[in-house]
Amino acid sequence: MRWAAMLLLALLMCSIGPVRRTDSVSAAQEFFTDVTAQAGIHWRHFSGESQEKYLIEAMGGGVAFFDFDRDGREDLLFLTGGETPKSKGPAPPLNALYRNTGDGKFEDVTAKSGIARLPFYGMGVAAGDFDNDGYPDLFITGYPSSALLHNNRDGTFTDISEKAGVKNVGKWGASAAWFDYDRDGRLDLFVANYAKFSYEDGPHCDYQGMRTYCAQVAYEGERPTLYHNNGDGTFTDVTEQAGLGKLIGRALGVVAIDADDDGWPDLFVARDASPNLLLVNQHDGTFKDVALDAEVALSADGTARAGMGVDAGDVNGDGRPDFVVTDFNDETHALFLNSGKSPYREWTRESGLAALTRSFVGWGIHFIDFDNDGNLDLVLVNGHINQVIEKTRVDVSYNEPPLLLANNGKGVFRNVREQAGAVFRNRYLGRGLAVGDYDNDGGVDVVFTRLNEAPILLHNNVGHLKTWIGIELQGTKSNRDAIGAKLTLRCGARKLVRWITGGASYLSSHDQRVIFGLGEAPTSPVRLEIRWPNGNTQAVTRLKLNQYQTIVEQASGPELLRNTTTSRLAPWYIIDAN
């Protein structure tokens, strides 16, 4: 079938251009539409809020886009908080697993899944195929323990935490990240632990006689946990050996990415009133925190900000991963530009983020090229923690709006709330946020959780209007999810670099496929270079526009390329790689 392949290759040459879609969005149409109800999502988060004001009540919960049944459609998992000694729900609070039925709807399959109830207060989730069997497993964080749920490939999950040795006992786990720090082809696990916490003897705070949540500094920080995947279904806690045992602090968010471009995955850990960490992989199973020297640990006056969520991506097109961190009001969410050498440049004011986020307490955040113009935009959710904040400030509210910030390609953002959709003009107690293309149309959709409320699923109405290329990587020597891979797409003079990251955002897990937005029809050939997590490189040229394709890792020789899911509009190509 070489002729067929060549024909396809010719068709895919940028000079020919893609098949243009016939539909369009009217000028008045919003970028995102709240489709929660029509998608059939009715679950609500339960925090167990009580008069005791346990801090944990204000911090959850997580959400994941992941394809648990490998049918090519991103499903959804929502994490509830739970009951506390001072608060029982009217019904037992449940997590929720929704299967994507492919028609814009989701089916609640929680009951069968074995995920509904877990023996701890739930916080966050990280989906990852730790045993490389092709099906994503789940690590769910919480207090006073966490759980590893093995995907049984039949819609059910089994809690194997005990046997696997990853219960994270006694700790308040927040975000977690799967990544292969020793490049042995198996996903290891980093858990961002928040603080030492107890229902029995916590601090008490009030404001004018009203009980309030205490500030985070009232709680002693915790060290993170690093679990090494032994490859036999068990893990070893290597926190101390990895040099992380002394990094006590209130960690909330984590993203795993190769920050220094040496081919080994590093970690950025967002911490709450503790200095952020930039853990550089030393290639020998240890990490070195360089955040202070890199100037990403603190604000300009040497104070630790209230880091919550974090993500990494190339905001200015220089091919290096930059970091964005959500913080508390007045601190402003921070953007750190990676120039390839230390220190990073704080770009918060210049990017517009300072002005755009000054009044907000931020949580989940993710880079997202929502309009597929090739520039990484930002979506993030906010929501205050202090229920009496409006008594002390006139410019800060308890409920806060999510933000959709459009990037001009140079790392300068503007708020597009007027076109973004009604959700972006309302106020919520946003917490977790995940991104994924649940309808495979090339437009990245968004879901976020709200404290004690139903989540909100936002359909992207505009991404598919531009040209895009969707990539799913499948590791063979590397971990199967290819977490840690670097993808460089070249088209003429333009170069777009993306990474498959571990973790990211806050308490949440994301569609691991990569979408390259190309904007208008490209006029030059498109070439993709992949650096796999184990360091191998691979080049791919036969890429199809406006659809997804799976690229399987090969040690050498021609790439294996096949499409997996299709855009609703693009033709279904069948390629014989032989």
Binding site: C205, L292, A300, D301, G302, R358, T392, V394, D395
Partner: protein, 524 residues
């Protein structure tokens, strides 16, 4: 100053007056006057007063009797009445210097400095060599804070000055105030080993302590340890000097010895609290100042100090509680409301802080601190327009006050979301430095500003400027972790890696101490 000096001086003058009085002979008035003077010399002031009153009754126009009676009344602290007799004496015999000299001395004691000065100047115009008048005018000038004149006058009568430690103290103070520190020091040193009243030495030591010439102050205090009657005050002052000279452990020991005698008063407990605070023992510090409050609940500064110590140790809830008690106990105190506002600002309770500072401004309409606090609180509460208007009006009202410029500039800098705000912040902070170059904070802020400005484009010039500002801040006493973090960043940008590393290490050590006040730098 120095009521004791005056008493002695008045006594002296009275004696002089009595000895040289013009007594009409032979009459009964003269006999009464004679007996009065003799009684005074024998220390029986009551009888002296009665005898002289009788003499004045019999001879109401006799300037000498009138002067003597005034002198006795002055010695009995009946100053107002004494003034009446001295004035009558002056009227009776305007040409006699003695009644006028006594009147001037009495006016000085009454605090009627202008009148005293006029009379003394008149005496000196008539008789420039009048040493007593010179001495008195020197003392009056010192009281009027005309230190240059005081020093000049007192220095011309060294033999009179040396006789009285109080005068020595006045001359020393005048020297300190006019920048002649060594002369002051030498003068006070001359008191050591010389027989003199312990009260006078105590006063002289106080002058040295106030001038921060702690070495001589301490020696003077120590020289009267066996003779000074108020042991508690003396020990407290010694402890205060030890504290001020960074001998905190010694100070603490002195105070604990005092506590163990059961003689410690509120001020001693207060100082003990500060000793503990310096030694990073916040629990003991709080306990000591609570004792100070218990012993003297009417002393507002105890509440304010406790608020400060609690705030410094991040015990904000407790600090707010104390500040609330302070405003309850001292509802008319602007300082109490300012302290409350400060804690509320620290706790991000900005609208409450607006109310507290609003009260403070009402109580202290001229207080720049209260107005700066109010504007800053409004800024924090998100009422930026109102805050800016208040800052602007502050600058108009107090164009020479660096505090207002510094606070306004810092607020703009910390909230800067664009280059224009940075520019405005820079102008205000530079003005603050121009008005008062001894303030460390605006230098630090200007250093940070350069770092912020150069985020996009690091230029060596701007970094050199930042370095100069930050080094200035350190020289001027700023020693918290922030400045060393900023210095590390600047050195790194200038390629001075070793200095950057050492500043970063310092930052880490200081930060650890700031976050855990019970821990000393280096973890020892």
């Amino acid at each position: 100053m120095n009521a004791r000096v005056l008493a002695a001086l008045t006594g002296l003058l009275c004696s002089v007056c009595a000895m040289s009085g013009q007594v009409d002979t032979p009459d009964i008035a003269s006999e009464h006057a004679e007996r009065g003077v003799q009684s005074a010399q024998a220390g029986d002031l009551v009888r002296a007063e009665a005898e002289l009153r009788r003499a004045v009754e019999l001879a109401p126009e006799n300037a000498s009797y009138l002067t003597s009676l005034g002198g006795i009344l002055g010695m009995e602290q009946k100053l107002e009445e004494a003034n009446v007799y001295f004035e009558r004496a002056v009227k009776c015999d305007p040409a006699d210097p003695t009644p006028r000299r006594n009147l001037a001395a009495n006016q000085w004691r009454l605090g009627q400095l202008n009148q005293a000065q006029a009379n003394l100047e008149r005496l000196l115009r008539a008789q420039p060599q009048d040493k007593v008048a010179t001495l008195l005018l020197g003392m009056v000038s010192e009281n009027e804070k005309n230190y240059a004149r005081a020093a000049k006058l007192l220095a011309t009568v060294p033999e009179l000055v040396e006789q009285r430690p109080e005068s020595v103290a006045a001359l020393a103070n005048s020297y300190y105030q006019t920048g002649r520190r060594e002369r002051a020091h030498d003068l006070l040193e001359g008191l050591l080993g010389r027989p003199a009243s312990s009260q006078g030495i105590y006063a002289a030591a106080g002058v040295a302590a106030q001038a921060r010439d702690y070495g001589i102050a301490e020696k003077l205090f120590e020289s009267i340890q066996s003779s000074y009657p108020d042991k508690e005050a003396l020990e407290y002052n010694l402890a205060l000097i030890q504290f001020r000279t960074e001998r905190v452990a010694e100070s603490q020991k002195t105070l604990l010895d005092l506590v163990n005698t059961g003689r410690a008063k509120s001020a001693a407990y207060n100082l003990l609290g500060w000793c503990y605070a310096k030694e990073n023992k916040p629990g003991e510090a709080v306990h000591a100042i609570e004792n100070a409050i218990r012993l003297d609940p009417s002393n507002e500064s105890n509440y304010l100090d406790l608020t400060t110590i609690l705030m410094d140790n991040h015990r904000l809830v407790a600090a707010l509680e104390v500040a609330r008690k302070a405003v309850e106990a001292f509802p008319q105190s602007g300082a109490a409301y300012r302290a409350k506002g400060m804690v509320e600002m620290k706790m991000d309770q900005f609208t409450d802080a607006v109310r507290s500072y609003g009260q403070a401004v009402g109580l202290e309409p001229k207080s720049v601190d209260a107005k700066v606090g109010l504007a800053s609180a409004n800024w924090g509460a998100g009422k930026r327009a109102q805050a800016e208007a208040q800052f602007q009006s502050l600058l108009k009202e107090h164009p020479s006050d660096a505090t207002a410029y510094e606070s306004y500039g810092s607020s703009l800098l910390n909230g800067a979301t664009d280059a224009a705000m940075l520019g405005r912040a820079a102008a205000l902070l530079k003005k603050a430095v121009e008005l008062d170059s001894s303030r460390a904070e605006p230098h630090y802020q200007l250093g940070i500003l350069e770092l912020k400005k150069s985020a996009a484009d690091v230029s060596p010039d701007s970094m050199r400027q930042a370095l100069a500002e930050l080094q200035n801040a350190v020289k001027l006493g700023l020693s918290d972790s922030r400045v060393h973090y900023a210095l590390a960043r600047v050195y790194r940008r200038l390629g001075r890696e070793n200095e950057a590393a050492s500043e970063m290490q310092l930052y880490k050590e200081l930060k650890a101490t700031e976050e855990n006040p019970g821990q000393t730098p280096g973890g020892t």
